[in-house]
């Protein structure tokens, strides 16, 4: 176990470093001089030169990268050019929207998909199964942002039950904040649920055909115990992996959804930062998302080893 954790920890670190190099290199070629953006077009060459020196932009790229990574590990991601505040505090503030959004949509996806996947597998080739499969095909085909627009049309424009967009702060309006996140989370969750339901169904079907299930049934165990204790425990492993993989996608998918619902999350932050050429914010957010995905994958790896003790810690 300790050796496994050490090996995976090293791989995790190397992947993070590789990702950070790729991101740093890619962002170096974004057109636009940050010093020029800050000082405007009337800036004198001397003032531009001074600011570049102040920001460290006159140093070789390798040194800029090392300085940046030192900052990343100490929580200093520089100052935002547009907002003129620390990027770390800006990201932390925006994560208050994105993290609950991601968690809510995963919860929606799990509650929609796992019961329907189990139901479909237990009613194979019957009306219920076809119903779930048709719905999941629709879920796979509908873009999350269109699902969002349709939900706004239904719940905000027609019934006026939920807000069409915007966000109220957690501190002053916790219920309002939760309400603002319901529709975006549902639109992200519905699309994810389609994939998870199909995976749950196929994984359950595979496990239900195994010898140990036949043994459990022939011992006279109640159907509920066979399905939920024996089959589901084994069938859930690939589903957990997929949930982990989707968590990363959710963070990125939030970019479009946060724009649909005008939510001040990190997705909207990075999108606006790209438009404003706010390099420190783009670097910070992209690196953070990548780091979160790598860490989530690592945790998923640990989770399915816990769920299935047969998987060895190699």
């Amino acid at each position: 176990m300790a050796l496994f954790l050490l090996k995976r920890g090293i791989t995790l670190f190397i992947t993070l470093i590789l990702v950070s190099i790729v991101i740093f290199a890619v962002l170096m070629v974004i057109p636009g001089d940050p010093a020029q953006i800050i000082l405007g077009i009337r800036a004198t060459p001397e003032s531009l030169q001074n600011l570049r020196r102040q920001l460290g932009l006159d140093q070789p790229i390798a040194i800029q990268y090392l300085n940046y990574m030192r900052g990343f590990f100490t929580g200093d991601l520089g100052r935002s050019i547009t907002y003129e505040v620390q990027v770390t505090s800006l990201i932390l503030q925006r994560l208050q929207v994105t993290i609950p959004l991601a968690i809510l949509s995963i919860l929606f996806a799990i509650f929609l998909s796992i019961p329907s996947g189990i139901y479909a597998s237990l009613h194979r080739n019957r009306a219920g199964d076809y119903g779930v499969m048709v719905l999941s095909q629709i879920g796979l085909a509908v873009p999350a942002f269109w699902a969002g627009i349709l939900l706004i049309l239904l719940f905000a424009v027609t019934f006026h039950w939920l807000p069409a967009g915007g966000f109220q702060p957690w501190e002053s309006h916790p219920i309002g904040a939760l309400k603002s996140l319901l529709l975006p989370a549902l639109s992200l969750g519905f699309v994810r649920a389609a994939v998870l339901a199909r995976m749950t169904r196929s994984s359950m079907l595979e496990v239900l055909g195994e010898d140990f299930i036949r043994t459990a049934r022939s011992k006279g165990l109640p159907r509920r115990v066979v399905v939920y204790k024996h089959a589901l425990r084994n069938a859930i492993i690939p589903v957990v992996t997929l949930i982990g993989l989707q968590a990363g996608d959710l963070l990125a998918g939030a970019i479009i959804i946060e724009n649909v619902f005008h939510l001040p999350g990190i997705g909207r932050l990075v999108f606006e930062a790209i438009g404003q050429r706010d390099l420190p914010v783009i670097q910070g957010v992209v690196l953070l998302i990548a780091a979160m995905i790598v860490v989530i994958n690592f945790l998923v790896d640990l989770a399915y080893r816990y769920l299935d003790p047969r998987i060895r810690y190699e």
């Binding site: 992947t15 590789l18 509908v142 873009p143 996608d249 990125a252 479009i256 990075v270 438009g275």
Partner: protein, 286 residues
């Protein structure tokens, strides 16, 4: 000898309901796109401010938008845009991906290790985020969005090519071809690629659908196809502003995206079921 896949060798393909439905929807989409190049009820870009926000009626079957443009004509022409972006993006991904995957499977050792680690990094990176970053570097536009979507397809095809061709290199007929002195490039072209073609076609269909979704997303954000050219994603973005008064604007372009993706997904599922049921397992593993 090597088994060469051809969709024409499949007997009674339309007995597979997924394939039949997917084929039908995709065919309708293709015909609509081709038809829109020679005929649309109205010029898709022609504004007519006197006929703004008309709901669906006998003259404008799907209504008109905020500039009085005919929605049906724009949805029809938007199909060309989606198909071209999807085709080019998948071709970029497949071209580079198959090349890199073949190199990894042939040379193995450090070449394999480097290609696969880089593709792991790219694969783990969210596609939407990469596409947004790339289009923000290259600038918004339809060509740059094709390149952006194509780039995130590369690791998918590289991993698939490597995974499926590794075992084929160990087959007897490949050993025999080597023994009679056939060149490696010739072996890859004549023996390896025909054997992995079915997997590539199935994955290509799925990626085509994903590329259409990605293009719609980028155009929605204003990074893909630029106005006045019709694009389904862009139309949805514009529709959102007028949702309170003209909700139909947000319905039809979305239906077009969903139907297209549904058709391609069903086609991919059907092809996979018919060609090789084992393939679905490999595709889940990569």
């Amino acid at each position: 000898m090597n088994k060469i896949f051809s969709p024409f060798l499949i007997h009674h393909p339309f007995r597979n309901i997924n394939f039949a439905l997917g084929f039908l929807i995709t065919l309708i989409l293709l015909l609509t796109a081709i038809l829109s190049l020679i005929y649309t009820p109205y010029d898709p870009n022609r504004m007519n401010l006197a006929r703004r926000f008309l709901p669906p009626n006998s003259e404008h079957w799907l209504g008109t938008d905020q500039y009085g443009r005919d929605i049906l004509s724009r949805v029809m022409r938007g199909a060309v845009n989606s198909i071209v972006v999807g085709l080019v993006a998948v071709s970029i991904g497949m071209g580079f991906g198959v090349f890199l995957g073949s190199l990894a499977a042939f040379y193995r050792k450090w070449v394999d290790e480097i290609i696969m680690r880089i593709s792991d990094v790219l694969y783990g990176f969210p596609a939407v985020l990469s596409a947004i970053l790339i289009t923000s570097i290259l600038g918004p536009g339809v060509i740059n969005s094709m390149i952006a979507i194509g780039i995130f397809n590369i690791p998918i095809f590289a991993r698939l090519t490597r995974a499926t061709s590794l075992s084929i290199w160990e087959r007897d007929y490949v050993t025999a071809a080597r023994a009679i002195g056939r060149r490696n490039a010739g072996i890859i072209w004549n023996y390896i690629l025909p054997n992995i073609l079915s997997a590539l076609i199935v994955q290509g269909t799925v990626q085509f659908a994903i590329a259409i979704l990605a293009e719609a997303g980028l155009s929605y954000l204003g990074l893909g196809t630029q106005p006045p050219h019709p694009s389904w994603g862009r139309m949805l973005n514009e529709a959102q502003t007028f949702m309170g008064t003209s909700p139909y604007l947000a319905i039809f372009p979305g239906c077009a995206i969903a139907l297209t993706v549904l058709g391609l997904n069903l086609l991919g599922d059907g092809l996979r079921d018919m060609i090789d049921p084992k393939l679905s397992r490999i595709q889940q593993q990569i």
